[in-house]
């Protein structure tokens, strides 16, 4: 079952209306898809087009059900200046009406795992970038959405937090959540992702699982890194 169907003819910003174009893909239940591409390729713009944060979008974005839960975690953490870390989680729990005892147990556990217990009642806007990223990730994991859209989740995370986060993503996949992540860490994408979407110059230039991408490049046994470079070199 597809959780998300994306058919973007063109999307962009005021003054740059066609930042991305001809991007079509879908995301199934329990699937982890990696959105990869060079800097400025249009990965973050694709996320913004999907969640409706762009002023100019021509195309069709369809979620499996109108009430499906999804969370978008942007590359730059967005946090409330006047709320503490715990209050951010409280707000998320209120929105999704998570039972109080379930919320408390789960939130405490996540804070423990991501080593933020001591900063529970602090303002997260005073945190480092990595800690802020953890707050965003915890918020996502707390509400157990049907679909995660995470832009560069590993930037700023320490190795321990990266491992914990990968473990959680695997658990969420097993639960049936669909996950769309963008990353520059191709070794990580190769290990984690069920399918890969490669974007360059604002358009989709390759997609499929690693085997399909290798056969397209005629590079059997090659790493995603090699395939990535090969495909980009073939671009006009």
């Amino acid at each position: 079952m597809n959780l998300l169907e994306v058919k973007i003819d063109r999307a962009g910003y005021t003054g740059k209306r066609e930042a991305i174009h001809h991007i079509c893909f879908s995301l199934k239940k329990g699937e982890l898809t990696g959105l990869i591409g060079p800097n400025g390729a249009g990965k973050s713009t694709t996320f913004k087009a999907i969640v409706g944060l762009l002023p100019e979008v021509d195309g069709k974005i369809q979620f499996s059900a109108p009430n499906s839960r999804y969370i978008y975690i942007p590359e730059q953490p967005v946090l409330y200046e006047e709320l503490t870390l715990w209050e951010h989680l409280e707000l998320a729990a209120s929105v999704y009406e998570i039972e109080r005892n379930v919320f408390q147990e789960k939130a405490e556990n996540l804070l423990q795992i991501f080593c933020l217990q001591g900063a529970k009642h602090h303002f997260p806007t005073t945190f480092s970038k990595g800690m802020q990223q953890k707050v965003m990730i915890i918020t996502g994991l707390l509400i157990e959405p049907d679909l995660y859209m995470i832009d560069e989740p590993f930037v700023g995370l320490d190795p321990r937090a990266t491992l914990d986060f990968m473990r959680f993503l695997n658990e969420e996949k097993k639960r049936g959540a669909g996950i769309l992540i963008s990353t520059h860490q191709l070794d990580m994408a190769e290990r984690m992702c069920d399918s890969i979407i490669l974007i360059a110059d604002g358009q989709l230039i390759a997609q499929g699982n690693l085997e399909e991408i290798r056969s397209r490049c005629k590079l059997p046994q090659a790493s995603l890194f090699d395939c990535f470079n090969y495909i980009l070199e073939q671009q006009p």
């Binding site: 409330y80 006047e82 715990w86 409280e90 707000l91 009406e97 998570i98 009642h121 005073t126």
Partner: protein, 414 residues
């Protein structure tokens, strides 16, 4: 850039060009022709008429107010040092370069202070010489003392801000303001009648300014504080124009690690749902934002003053208008909070947003509106008025909140 002097000139000219560009975006030839030139002509003719006949309202103002105005003027302005963030990498180890840049920055600031003080006295001259009957010598002495005090206070404030942090800085700076005003107002008016004492004061100020300038030159405190101040100064004109444009710009502000209020993230509503969650976030955001709270109390104070001043039936015609105004102000605070990107991460139903806003408007506006209404009710109808005004105010605010919330959430989004 081969010398620190060249670097200073380059930075100064870049800043002037930037400031000129900022003003050019607003003041084109039509603005010059239709607003600036007529204002200038009107201002000059008014100024010339003051030399002939001082304005009648001066009769109510004593000379002490002139000295108070001079002191307030000395408290304004910022001493510049023209260091930039990238200097951490390139110049901090080059002590001589850094010192020379700061020295030029200080000279430039003193020169600007001199120009502004001269302008200040030029504007006040018809009152000082014409109305308050100072002699030209007294005015010159007051000018020199004001200029030197301005430099001294500017340097002191800057050194204090580098030396202290948080509430200590607040206390010391405010202490400096209070102490400075007391000394200025107690010493200067009598000293102006004795030129020798005035000259002695000037000598003391010159020595103090030299000592503090040397201290500032050699002082290497918190570089981030210096940078924050420099950035603020560099962009102050752009900030001013943007504030008039009504653009919603979130500026990073200094923040405590933990909040004073609800410091253990205590919940306000036992029932947890989207409406209460949003409402709770809005209330905490309002109560923890000192700028917004300050504006709220200032508005209440002004509204209460209006209500106390107005007499007869006009008072009760203005009263609901003030309620409407206050509810709208609270609505603006809500919208500012809800513009947070974090809030936008979740999908909200329109009825949830409407209900949360309606409750927020009522809970935040009512206490303030009661502070406005109670004295007015007591003033008009004694104790029965003060008691009756409670339910009537609550009812009025309740219905206005319903209308404003409906407008902000439903009508304005359509």
């Amino acid at each position: 850039m081969r010398t620190p002097g060249q670097l200073f000139v380059k930075r100064l000219s870049t800043e002037w060009k930037y400031t000129y560009g900022v003003w050019r975006t607003t003041i084109d030839w039509t603005v010059v022709l239709y607003i600036v030139l007529p204002a200038l002509v009107l201002g000059i003719s008014q100024y010339l008429s003051w030399w002939e006949n001082p304005p009648f309202w001066l009769n109510t103002l004593s000379a002490n107010l002139l000295f108070a105005a001079c002191f307030l003027f000395t408290w304004s302005g910022t001493i510049r040092i023209f260091l930039e963030e990238a200097d951490q990498l390139f110049l901090l180890k080059q002590k001589q370069w850094r010192k020379t840049l700061v020295r030029y920055g200080l000279f430039y600031s003193f020169f600007l202070y001199l120009i502004f003080t001269a302008l200040f006295f030029f504007v006040l001259a018809p009152f000082i010489l014409g109305y308050y009957q100072f002699s030209p010598m007294q005015m010159i002495l007051l000018f020199v003392i004001t200029f030197l005090t301005k430099v001294l206070l500017g340097l002191s404030r800057q050194i204090v801000s580098l030396h202290f942090y948080g509430w200590r800085r607040f206390i010391v700076v405010k202490g400096l303001l209070v102490l400075g005003s007391i000394v200025f107002l107690a010493l200067i008016p009598p000293a102006l009648h004795h030129p020798v004492i005035s000259l002695l004061l000037i000598l003391i100020l010159v020595v103090a300014v030299s000592a503090l300038s040397t201290k500032r030159l050699n002082y290497q405190g918190d570089f981030s504080v210096d940078m924050a101040r420099e950035r603020e100064e560099k962009f102050k004109h752009a900030n001013l124009l943007l504030s008039f444009s009504g653009a919603n710009i979130r500026k990073p502000r200094k923040q405590r690690t933990r909040p004073w209020l609800f410091h253990r993230s205590d919940i306000i509503f036992r029932k947890r749902n989207a409406v209460n969650g949003l409402l709770e976030a809005g209330i905490k955001a309002m109560l923890r934002n000192y700028r917004r709270l300050g504006q709220y109390f200032l508005l209440i104070f002004l509204c209460a003053l209006i209500m106390m001043t107005l007499q007869g039936s006009i008072k009760w015609l203005v009263w609901p208008a003030l309620a409407f105004f206050l509810v709208n102000f609270t609505g603006l605070c809500w919208q500012e909070s809800m513009n947070s990107e974090f809030i936008k991460l979740f999908s909200w139903k329109t009825e949830e947003k409407y209900l949360a806003l309606r409750k927020f408007l009522f809970m935040i506006t009512l206490p303030g509106f009661l502070l406005i209404s109670l004295p007015a009710g007591f003033q008009a109808f004694s104790w029965p008025g003060a008691v009756l005004i409670f339910p009537i105010s609550a009812g009025l605010v309740f219905y206005i909140c319903k209308i404003v919330a409906f407008y902000l959430v439903i009508i304005s989004k359509e």
